[in-house]
């Protein structure tokens, strides 16, 4: 209701009356508005409502602001002819789709201050720059409001699709009906295109779309060499930067990367996505086994007497983040002990283990 404005109810030069309907009541949401029975007039540009009893009372809403309308069952004491109402609805739908108000604007644009200065020499200096900025801002605003209208219209379409996808997803979840595996995959790719969260995802196998499958294969090839160079393990953020820098265009989203990595196992790639207790996600080479990593940590620590994550990182040429994870892993397996102080976290060989 707050989009309606007071109006004189008169049509402009370029505006045409499409249909008018008597006996229309206005409701504001659930309660009746203060306005009662009147006439509804549909023009090419607006929807006008005029009170029958008090002709002065007249409000209107520009059609460009109507996002969505729906039919509701008529209340008690039908004073409206259902056939006419239907006709009104049809014409409204038509006007909304034709958008004739766009091609014939109602009022002339007010000339801006800059127009009156066409006779002057081109302004230079700060004043000129300020003016340019102001012009650009106005231009952007104009574009934005234009675009906003276009967006609004598409918003409804998109909303419908989201609703539809939800109901399909529910059916798949409840295993209703005989949707084939292929169809499910197709559905998931629709969701992917639209950017709708998939409620049917199985965490272990990622999104299950062909796109991510292909991506996983590609990553399997691209990442082998870099992984070897970095001791067999790379943080996912490192991978993200590496891959996207190499691509330059058509970049991967963080989610794309995660979903693709989740498929390594099922594709029998020599890589794995691994999530540490801390939440850090890495891609690691299958060939670099757990035991290798732990014994290398233990060996290095024993060799030096004790090591912090930073020192270990320098030794192996790894990032501090990953070297810390390795030390923590070795500790978890009982091979290392920690000395936690304000001077940092330092690891020692677990003598309880070796000298038991």
């Amino acid at each position: 209701m707050d989009r309606f404005t007071w109006s004189n109810g008169l049509l402009e030069m370029n505006e045409t009356l499409v249909i008018q309907q008597r006996g229309v009541k206005l409701y504001d949401g659930e309660d009746k508005a203060k306005l009662d029975v009147g006439i509804a007039l549909l023009s090419t540009h607006q929807l006008i409502w005029r009170d029958l009893k008090n002709h002065e009372c007249c409000i209107a809403i520009p059609l460009s602001q109507i996002i969505y309308f729906e039919e509701q069952a008529a209340g008690i004491g039908k004073s409206q002819d259902p056939i006419l109402l239907n006709f009104l609805k049809e014409r409204l739908t038509e006007e909304l789709s034709q958008k004739r108000w766009e091609s014939t604007p109602m009022s002339q644009p007010i000339p801006t201050a800059t127009n009156s200065q066409t006779g002057r020499t081109r302004a230079v200096g700060i004043v000129g720059i300020e003016r340019k900025i102001e012009e650009r801002r106005k231009e952007t605003e104009k574009n934005i409001s234009e675009v906003r209208r276009e967006i609004r219209w598409r918003e409804t379409r998109a909303k419908e699709m989201v609703e539809l996808s939800r109901s399909i997803a529910n059916k798949i979840k409840d295993k209703q009906g005989d949707i084939t595996e292929d169809e499910t995959i197709r559905f998931k790719s629709y969701l992917l295109s639209m950017g709708i969260a998939n409620p049917v995802t199985r965490e272990t196998h990622g999104s299950g779309t062909h796109y991510h499958l292909q991506l996983a294969k590609q990553l399997g090839d691209i990442l082998l060499a870099p992984l070897e160079e970095r001791g067999g393990m790379m943080a996912l953020t490192e991978v993200y930067c590496l891959v996207n820098r190499a691509r330059g265009m058509e970049l991967l989203s963080p989610e794309d990367l995660v979903n693709a990595c989740k498929m390594f196992e099922s594709l029998k790639q020599p890589l794995r996505l691994r999530i540490f207790d801390s939440g850090v996600m890495v891609v690691q080479l299958q060939s670099h086994s757990e035991e290798e990593m732990i014994s290398s940590a233990l060996d290095n620590v024993t060799d030096k007497g004790s090591l912090t994550a930073e020192e270990f990182a320098k030794l192996l040429g790894l990032s501090v983040l990953l070297s810390k994870e390795r030390l923590l892993l070795a500790e978890k397996m009982g091979h290392l002990c920690r000395d936690d102080s304000v001077e940092g976290l330092r690891f020692y060989p677990n003598l309880f283990n070796s000298q038991a």
Binding site: R157, F187, Y190, L192, L251
Partner: protein, 241 residues
């Protein structure tokens, strides 16, 4: 003869076909939109905000995948994903100094510097959205509200509410002391020390034991003067923690 059922199965299939059709229409619709407004998305941060809000209302995430319509046709994806790379790189470069905590302002400043003169306009809203996406990669990306803006965390350090509150307290001067904490927050000495020790261990705070009065705990993330001069990793290693 196999009779096509009228039950739930047929309905689901029919809906799927309908969705496929609607998707095609929507796609060509979006293409038309893109041909007119693709430039705006790249140039105007204001426009991007509007666009994102619309998507949120609908319930779609335009940044979920590089393979999504929004990404492919409007190029929104590339803008944000590239920004993500730049954010990660800036945070990584400064981690040795601030422990993985940086103000949104400083991040913004450095990202803009890295992008160069001819790069597109990047707003703080853009950064926030890019960071939200980075979270899924599990490297501890998060945002802590501090003094009207945010601190961006880029390491998986455990920061609970106690830590956050102390960070907020330190925001005004860039440092904080035990007695300040006890006064403002009415905590016991034990609790204040515990929190400060944790920040020290995580490398987020530096101890100035030579300060007049009592020791001061400084947060490099909140330094503003230091942004003009960079500390190299080698220099940082020589500084006793």
């Amino acid at each position: 003869m196999h009779r096509r059922g009228v039950g739930a199965g047929a309905i689901a299939k029919k809906k799927l076909a309908e969705m496929s059709k609607q998707l095609e229409t929507f796609k060509s619709n979006l293409e038309e939109f893109a041909s007119k407004h693709k430039q705006e998305i790249r140039k105007s941060s204001q426009f991007r905000v509007q666009f994102q809000e619309m998507c949120a209302t609908i319930g779609v995430d335009p940044l979920a995948s590089g393979k999504g319509f929004w990404s492919e046709m409007l190029g929104v994806g590339d803008f944000y994903y590239e920004l993500g790379v730049q954010i990660i790189e800036v945070c990584l470069a400064l981690k040795h100094r601030n422990g993985g905590l940086i103000t949104l302002d400083e991040l913004h400043h450095r990202v803009l510097k890295g992008r160069g003169k001819f790069a597109q306009d990047v707003s703080q809203d853009d950064l926030v959205r890019a960071i939200k996406k980075l979270k899924v990669m599990g490297n501890g990306f998060g945002m802590i509200p501090v003094g009207g803006s945010y601190l961006v965390q880029s390491v998986p350090a455990e920061l609970n509410m106690d830590h956050t509150v102390v960070l907020q307290l330190a925001e005004k001067k860039g440092y904080v002391s035990v007695s300040e904490i006890r006064e403002s927050l009415k905590w016991e000495r034990e609790r204040a020390c515990h929190v400060l020790d944790h920040l020290l261990k995580e490398g987020l705070a530096w101890l100035d034991s030579q300060a007049s009065g009592e020791p001061q705990y400084w947060l490099p993330a909140l330094f503003s003067e230091l942004t003009s001069r960079d500390v190299t990793p080698e220099e940082a290693n020589q500084i006793t923690p």
